[in-house]
């Protein structure tokens, strides 16, 4: 990979031919949309070398916020239930075998960052921050892309002729509080395709013989009619003309035999991963990546299952901690196991070697229990979990005080704590993306930094850095 000094603008912007591969037509830069094309992207001048250790990323958002001190940054307190079976799984790493029966055996593969900080305490703002990789700025929110769209934009130049799957796919974000953040100022072909695991297996994965015959019959008709009408469509203007390219891409995807094969889950799969939207989301992620058909980034949104304000260890509560953790344990560890067994794109490497899994919430939970035996929202410290794709297994960065309320060591080379923004920088780095890039010609005129440096009040600044110590 060339160093920053050698890069020219032309290297940073996908060529028109590359762009045409997914969702294709580069929209003419027009004043109508405030769209700008080509984007004027430059490196910030900071000399960084993205690591390029991963081909793919799976991001799991535990919406509602998992409790760090009951899980990956365990603190024994007077509220700790007796049946958690907490064990020192490796030096200094205590984990409940009741909550994480399988993950407790896999921690040698896992990297933890225990010093994360969140600026927000409200789910909506926090979940927006997680999906966008930056805090909500209402002034320019409408032009801000999801970080998955930035990944799709950056990796467009690596798409091959045979790739038909969208680069960025998400599950359940349509149901998320912030919704599915669109592609912002980036072209619409970078938009994440959001799938609902509870319905897509039936929609795309059943016996498609009949449906495909119908689609092919209809597609033929649509094509015949649009050929006749082409002249008129061009005359209507760019908007109408652009649709053809988008339809062609959608049709290529729907008729690719690899696509329905993604929506297959055996009885064994369903038993191992869990037969609900989270387990099925993990199966989808595995299947999408195993096909190596163009998808590189999968964002799994695990509903608002973790917002344990009351009865966190009350086994009669519908979404108590026993249930949410063991459910996560099944899906996550099955994913780790299956990716470790699947061959990667490079000989001798597994798909897990080439895929970084990141599992994180929008913030942490209060160290003390509230009067109704729940934990509320906490921004001072929480934990991020990383597996695969170049992560050094068993590494634990950062540490917290006795009750987990505050960070003692940040665990990286900066005095300020890492934020979600730095998680995104780490993901970009793993994928070989220079996280210091800046887009100058946004519609608002405000520069878009891939990872922004912002003031934390006073002299403190959020560092626009990767969490480099996570890498092997």
């Amino acid at each position: 990979m060339p160093g920053p000094a050698m890069r020219r603008l032309t290297d940073l912007v996908p060529s028109r031919r590359d762009v045409l591969r997914w969702g294709g037509l580069a929209l003419a830069g027009t004043w109508v949309d405030g769209l700008v094309w080509p984007l004027d992207i430059r490196a910030s001048g900071a000399a960084v070398t993205p690591r390029g250790t991963a081909k793919n990323v799976i991001f799991i958002e535990l919406g509602g916020a998992i409790s760090p001190m009951d899980c990956w940054d365990f603190k024994e307190t007077r509220w700790t239930p007796q049946d958690l079976d907490v064990t020192e799984v490796s030096k200094g790493l205590y984990l409940s075998r009741t909550l994480f029966p399988q993950l407790s055996k896999e921690m040698h593969r896992v990297g933890l960052v225990r010093s994360m900080q969140a600026p927000e305490l409200i789910h909506f703002n926090g979940q927006y921050h997680t999906q966008a990789g930056r805090a909500l700025n209402p002034a320019i929110a409408r032009e801000i892309p999801a970080f998955g769209s930035v990944v799709a934009f950056e990796l467009a130049k690596e798409r091959r002729e045979r790739d038909t799957f969208p680069t960025y796919i998400s599950t359940n974000l349509t149901k998320a509080r912030a919704g599915s953040i669109g592609s912002g100022f980036l072209p619409t072909w970078t938009t994440g395709l959001d799938l609902d695991p509870s319905t897509v297996f039936a929609a795309f994965g059943g016996d498609m013989t009949g449906a495909n015959a119908v689609l092919s019959e209809r597609w033929e008709l649509l094509t015949a009619l649009s050929k006749i009408n082409e002249g008129q469509r061009q005359a209507m203007g760019q908007k109408a003309a652009d649709y053809q390219a988008f339809y062609d891409d959608a049709h290529k995807l729907l008729t690719d035999a690899r696509w329905p094969s993604v929506f297959q889950a055996s009885a064994d799969d369903r038993a191992r991963y869990g037969d609900d939207e989270f387990g099925l989301g993990c199966i989808l992620a595995r299947n999408l990546l195993a096909q190596q058909a163009g998808t590189r980034m999968v964002y799994i949104y695990d509903g608002d299952r973790w917002d344990h304000h009351a009865g966190i260890f009350d086994k009669s509560a519908e979404w108590n901690h026993y249930r949410t953790c063991t459910r996560l344990d099944k899906g996550l560890v099955s994913l780790i196991h299956d990716l470790a067994k699947a061959p990667g794109s490079t000989a001798g490497k597994s798909l897990l070697d080439e895929t970084m899994i990141v599992c994180q919430s929008e913030f942490g939970r209060t160290p003390g229990m509230n009067p109704v035996n729940g934990r509320d929202h906490w921004k001072g410290a929480y934990t991020g979990l990383y597996v695969g794709g170049g992560i050094a297994g068993g590494r634990i960065l950062g540490s917290t005080n006795a009750d987990g309320s505050a960070v003692v060591e940040t665990g990286w080379r900066h005095k300020t704590q890492p934020f979600m923004d730095n998680t995104v920088a780490t993901i970009y780095s793993a994928l070989g993306i220079d996280w210091t890039k800046v887009v100058e010609n946004t519609p608002s005129g405000r520069a878009y930094h891939y990872v922004d440096t912002v003031s934390l009040g006073g002299a403190a600044m959020m560092e626009a850095d990767e969490i480099g110590d996570l890498f092997a």
Partner: protein
Amino acid sequence: MSAVSWLRRPSALLVAATSLYSVTVWTQTRPAPAPTPHDRVEAAHEGLRGDDKARDTARLTAAVARPVDPAAASRPVPRRNFIDTLIFDRLAAAKVPHAPLASDDEFVRRVYLDVTGLPPSSAEVRAFVADRTADKRDRLIERLLASDEFAEQWAWHWGDLLRMSGEAGPGANAFHYWFKELLKVDRPYDRFVHDVLTPSSKVHATIPSLAVIGRSNQLKSRFVESVDDYRISNRLDHIDALTIDVSRVFLGLNTSCISCHDGEYHLEDVNKYLAERKRDEFFAMSAFFGTTRLIGNWNDKSRNVDRDLHVDDLGTGYDGGDDAPFLTLAESQFPRPKGAHEPAFILTGEKPRAGEAPRAALARMITAHPQFARATVNLLWGRLMSVGFVEPHDAFDMLRLSGKDAQPSNVELLEAMAADFTKSGFRLKHTIRTILQSSAYQLSSSFPGTWKDDYLPLYPRHYARVLTGPEVLDSLAVVTGVPLKFTLGGETMTRVKQLATPGDIGRAGESMAVDAMLQSFFQSNRRTPPQSGNRPSTLQALLMMKSNVVNDRVLASAQGTVAELVGSTRTDDEIIDELYLSTSARTPSPAERAVARRTLAGNRSRGTEDLLWALVNSPEFLVNR
């Protein structure tokens, strides 16, 4: 009519009778909807019998199919009002050619979609095209402006602008119905600004206009011991958010940037006016809401059971020290300096008069300032012409309103329209009508000759736009004859735009799939500002081709349009005409008809399904041209 006298109306009193069940009462006592333009045209046609009806249909279809008059393109375009003078003079001066007037079929579909959010029925297209009277376009415009769908379409748009979501509590629902009534009677828009900014109430659900300031996330907390509770959300943050919305929608100003920092060193390249503004000036603007208090009806379990609010003006004022500086980025990164701020209008520095309530003063200052009219006509122009004079609508630079580097694409026209809007008594419908009646609006979207993007600010053609999410879903339901199904206030609703908020779509039945389609066409959930839509995407194509929302509706077994056509005595050609007219407002060309005939010849039922599917999957359907 003030907010109070509006409340005296019988229907409103029913709402006022109870807070808890107000929404249900309101919706159930609504009068039955007036017949739509569709209904009336269909009824006239249905009055005919047997052969007469068939002959009538054939005659009208022949009118639509009549070849376009080739001379029409070279005929001079009439100048119908001051808009045309300012558009066509400028085109002539720039020596830029322009498109001819849109043909009747192009016009009828465009104006239906823009005004009502629905395409015209086949009968309406036939009747309109066959009509030989000179004033038929003006009469159609009037008919559509008087329809219930007009109110639905524009109430949804204002719901997007003012972010009417569940956060507005029960008020969002009432606001929706109230705003529709307001559009129907064309209540002066300056009065509307007073309506939404000034009221106080012990029970805010009784005053629909209170939904704008009565948001449940703007409550003053009762409990401060838990940092977790949304009710302790920083009051000043929410007041600032309200100020940003008010400035954005009513003044076309994006004040978000200066809510966190001075404009200097940040906004020089973005907005000259805002670059000169200080954060203190923003606080002074927010201070108009500083004494507003929102108090929830807490029960002993600290739940606001009915989500209702008490709204009054006995608050503590706007003091930067009255912060909970741990909730949002704005607070942790850009803490407000301590100190009280007195209300002062951002554009003039004007302060409330002695004894004047601050919110009333704000409403007075906003509506008295010329920027209010400018911002409003720019919104309407952008909506109907696809591109505003200033884009996006909240990007006005007050130091570039005229002169050599003027920001608006047509300063003279913007000012003339603002003056006309003011003179009309701030009537939205008046300005919408004036735009629709202009030849500038009625130009064809097909451009003769070579198009250059430099022509854009001159409007020499009509700009095609991608339909909005609600327009796509509602149009699908109408042309397939298979309604959508939602529940609002215990009543069944059949169109997205009949709902008060996107949240009313719910999760039942096909609602999740409907929601996914809406989002793919850039419908926001209204918690963030509206998204920039008007862009085609692969996701839209994928969902249009594959979603059950579409596929289930084109099946004969869905008992909609396809079943009705296939089960009728219509010939294949008549079915083909019917589908082209209802989806695309035109008859097929001979080549298209040949393809369609072959499709129906093999299997009439399946062929009709396929043809309807292909037509709604055509760009012609997804675009308003």
